[in-house]
């Protein structure tokens, strides 16, 4: 049975109901104490996708986890994974035809339509973000920074659509992105500084220090410098995760309040407040994606020019 036919069969995926012990709809929310469960149920990962009253169960599509010694890696589809792939697919579908059209277009002709809009953003990133932070010879990092921005942006915005899931509201997803940015930064530093120069970023000895103090300085400062390298990707991950999660918790808390009190006054007031918060959420989604990309380029520039 194909994925699409299961989707349109209206939740016949089988066996979902007992997943979280949670009933959707006003009957499930008895009192304010139920709201935290309601929030976590909507924010956390799960083996199902809800769409307009239909539930698509993802458990039948699970496959055997990968066992590497004592490590068990489960790559089965969950709803956040589906949305990660959806964001990646939208990125590919948007930019690969754009690149082909740019290659085919004659020299000197201006782009039109979607290509025009995307080219504006791409040039902005190349000039204001990559070249300003990494320098003119950093043009090779432009695709990476652009990918980070558009991928995170699409993931954030997909979470704001009706029945959308925010993949970046999961610390594992943002941690993976931050680890990738960290690896790129360190490898860029290693390639720009060489092995000796790169080791000097960790084992840092200030000039003019008397001889006996040098080993002491090394022993004290090396772990600090090493941890200092790790705080930057940690901050990137937690910043993105906390921004996305906090916005959604706010929206879901107000929705939960409306469902609990079930009064028209609360509903109307909550509707106005939620609309304002949703507008702020759209702005924060774009801004946090931009900040992630910009900070990554700043870190790459900093480590390349460390001497």
């Amino acid at each position: 049975m194909s994925l699409l036919s299961t989707l349109f069969q209206g939740g016949q995926g089988g066996g979902y109901g007992q997943q979280a012990g949670y009933e959707s709809g006003p009957e499930g929310l008895g009192s304010i104490a139920d709201i935290p469960d309601y929030i976590t149920h909507h924010l956390e990962d799960g083996r199902y996708i809800e769409f307009a009253g239909m539930k698509l169960d993802l458990a039948p599509y699970a496959f055997e986890p990968l066992h590497l010694g004592s490590l068990t890696l489960d790559f089965s589809p969950t709803r956040q994974l589906v949305f990660i792939f959806l964001a990646a697919f939208i990125c590919i579908a948007l930019f690969v035809p754009l690149a082909r059209a740019t290659m085919r277009r004659e020299e000197g002709k201006a782009p039109s339509g979607v290509a025009n809009a995307m080219e504006g953003m791409i040039l902005y990133f190349r000039d204001e973000v990559v070249r300003a932070n990494i320098g003119k010879d950093g043009d090779g990092y432009t695709p990476f920074i652009l990918t980070i921005f558009f991928f995170i942006w699409f993931m954030n915005v997909l979470g704001l659509t009706p029945f959308g899931i925010t993949a970046t509201a999961n610390l594992s997803v943002t941690a993976a992105l931050a680890i990738i940015a960290f690896v790129v930064t360190e490898v860029a530093g290693y390639r720009a500084l060489g092995p000796v120069g790169y080791a000097q970023t960790v084992f840092f000895i200030p000039h003019g220090l008397p001889g006996p103090l040098k080993p002491v300085m090394l022993i004290i400062m090396a772990p600090v410098e090493f941890l200092g390298k790790l705080t930057k990707p940690f901050a990137l991950a937690v910043r993105l995760f906390a921004n996305m999660m906090a916005g959604h918790i706010l929206i879901l808390a107000i929705v939960g309040l409306i469902l609990v009190t079930q009064s028209w006054a609360v509903g109307f007031g909550g509707w106005i407040v939620m609309s304002a918060i949703m507008v702020l959420e759209l702005f924060v989604a774009t801004l946090q994606a931009y900040i992630f990309a910009m900070l990554t380029s700043v870190f790459i520039g900093l480590i390349r020019h460390a001497h």
């Binding site: 937690v238 906390a242 999660m245 906090a246 918790i249 946090q288 900040i291």
Partner: protein, 84 residues
């Protein structure tokens, strides 16, 4: 005195003190963020008043800095929610 101790022990057993901690964490981090972003707003207004043609640069830099400060505040919020 023993009555107070018993009340505190009872509250701790039921997770009440943890909730007070989470509430304090959320409130204090938001106060910090508010003060920080307020300072940025004040300096932004002063800068734009002094040199209106630099409005674009000042606005962009202010928004980026506000997002960074908010990131720091949301560290505290996120960790409080994880406990909660």
């Amino acid at each position: 005195m023993f009555f107070t101790l018993a009340v505190v022990q009872d509250a701790a057993a039921q997770g009440g003190l943890g909730l007070i901690g989470a509430g304090l964490a959320i409130g204090l981090t938001v106060i910090g963020a508010g003060i920080g972003i307020g300072q940025i707003g004040a300096q932004m207004a002063a800068g734009i008043a002094r040199q209106p043609e630099a409005t674009g640069n000042i606005q962009t830099a202010s928004i980026i800095l506000a997002a960074l400060i908010e990131g720091a505040a949301l560290f505290g919020l996120g960790l409080a929610f994880l406990k909660f």
